[in-house]
């Protein structure tokens, strides 16, 4: 017995989601590799020279480089290695958010109002946590 077969939109959507997820992860991985390679090549985080591992994982390690989106983008333009790594992290965090946004469109196309509400609520929760709660 087949309880429920997939619609055409759903099949297309599965491919779209897989592409989105792989694309986001791929771009992120490329940025992480580029950032690490630049860091190893130059020996500089872009925010001061690095002499030991301890300086990078000590209690105040995070204070030395930016966490805001604007400062990270400026650092990337200036080819600072840690800024490139941080952009990779930002892209990774954004990937599931984009996936949820795409889901809203799927359920809108299917005229499934309950699931439009469900996915919009999840999207709002994500955006609030990323932009408001730190």
């Amino acid at each position: 017995m087949i309880a429920r077969t997939r619609t055409y939109i759903e099949r297309r959507f599965e491919i779209l989601i897989a592409t989105l997820l792989l694309g986001g992860v791929g771009i992120s991985a490329a940025l992480l590799v580029a950032g690490v390679a630049l860091f190893l090549a130059t020996g500089s985080s872009g925010y001061g020279d690095v002499t030991s591992v301890n300086a990078l994982i000590g209690p105040d390690a995070a204070a030395a480089y930016p966490h805001s989106f604007g400062a990270i983008l400026r650092g990337v333009v200036e080819l600072r290695s840690f800024a490139i790594v941080e952009l990779g992290v930002v892209v990774l965090i954004a990937t599931p958010v984009v996936r949820v946004a795409a889901s809203v469109l799927l359920f809108f196309a299917e005229k499934d109002q309950v699931f439009v509400a469900v996915t919009v609520a999840v999207l709002v929760l994500l955006l609030v946590s990323i932009f408001l709660l730190h």
Binding site: I2, A3, R4, T5, E10, F13, E14, I17, A18, T19, L21, L22, G24, V25, S28, A29, L32, V33, G35, V36, L40, V50, S52, V53, L56, I57, G58, P59, A61, A62, A63, H67, F82, V85, E86, G88, V89, V90, L92, I93, A94, T95, P96, V97, R99, V100, S103, V114, F115, V118, T119, V122, L125, L126, V128, S129, I130, F131, L133, H134
Partner: protein, 292 residues
């Protein structure tokens, strides 16, 4: 395992060596994590803290980011394999994201020892139902409850040995409540909390094991993104740790995903029980200060 190999010691490894060891460790965690449908963090946080002596807050920060990579990489493959139930996943994300935000906010006020203790207890608890239910690949006699009918959650998935398998969905409110707790644990400990997501669907809603594990992987990324944004803004995601860890887990998960579709559910479950128990004991000993 040598404790504190790279902790704040007097004779640290060269930076390139540190990056490589972080990568290799995370690769192993990624393979095992994706086989178990756990997301990798369950093995990663103990390895980074107990194994290498990293500050648990940084370990959690790197882990939660890598968890997104694992989930997204594996989920893409599962979605194309048609094993994931998208509707169930998205509906339950309401509960996991709410829980994750709560967990990430609370984590800032919790002592490291307490985090170790909670981590160990979470692992130990997650092993018990696996032991009790070993051998059940396809739950029998499951009927849709009112929520499942209203939300049209039932589905079909292709099994390599059995062909297309149709299934229904029981006790959705129980699943929802368990998913909030799964999200809370994810946000608090920086793990995908796949064990609890799988439990919510497997024990709570009585879905087939393969649907539970793949849908869990699908949900983990969204759950982790909710708390990762909070950890990132707080400065707990260090580039020198997060980059090799994310890349390692990602490549490990890619390998694990290819192995999963060729293995039987029963084999999978039995494999992870002793591993999880060992890690649980180690973390609890840390929590009580028996190990430092």
């Amino acid at each position: 395992m040598a404790a504190h190999a790279f902790g704040l010691v007097s004779d640290p490894l060269p930076i390139a060596g540190f990056l490589f060891v972080m990568f290799a460790t995370s690769f192993a965690a990624g393979v095992v994590g994706s086989l178990a449908g756990l997301g990798g963090g369950v093995f990663l946080v103990p390895l980074l803290t107990v194994g290498f002596g990293l500050d648990i807050h940084y370990a959690v920060g790197a882990s939660i980011v890598s968890v997104i990579a694992t989930s997204s990489g594996a989920a893409a493959a599962y979605v194309r394999d048609r094993m994931t139930n998208l509707r169930i996943g998205m509906f339950l994300e309401l509960a996991t994201t709410t829980g994750a935000i709560t967990g990430a906010l609370v984590a800032a006020f919790v002592r490291p020892q307490t985090l170790f203790l909670i981590f160990g207890v979470v692992l130990a608890l997650s092993v018990l139902p696996l032991v009790r239910q070993i051998g059940e690949e396809l739950p029998q006699g499951v009927r849709d409850d009112a929520w499942a009918s209203r939300l049209r959650l039932a589905g079909t998935y292709p099994d390599r040995r059995l062909g297309p398998v149709a299934y229904q969905v029981a006790r959705v409110p129980v699943g929802l409540a368990m998913m909030w707790i799964a999200g809370l644990i994810s946000g608090l400990l920086g793990i995908g909390s796949g064990v609890f997501k799988v439990l919510a669907m497997d024990v709570g809603m009585r879905l087939p094991m393969k649907v539970s594990t793949t849908t869990s992987n699908f949900m983990i990324g969204v759950t982790a993104a909710a708390s990762a944004g909070i950890y990132f803004g707080r400065g707990d995601v260090l580039p020198v740790i997060a980059a090799p860890v994310a890349l390692g887990v990602l490549s490990g998960a890619a390998i694990g995903t290819r192995l999963l579709v060729r293995m039987r559910n029963t084999t999978l479950r039995a494999l992870f029980v002793p591993i999880l128990l060992l890690i649980a004991v180690e973390m609890i000993l840390r929590g009580f200060g028996v190990r430092t």
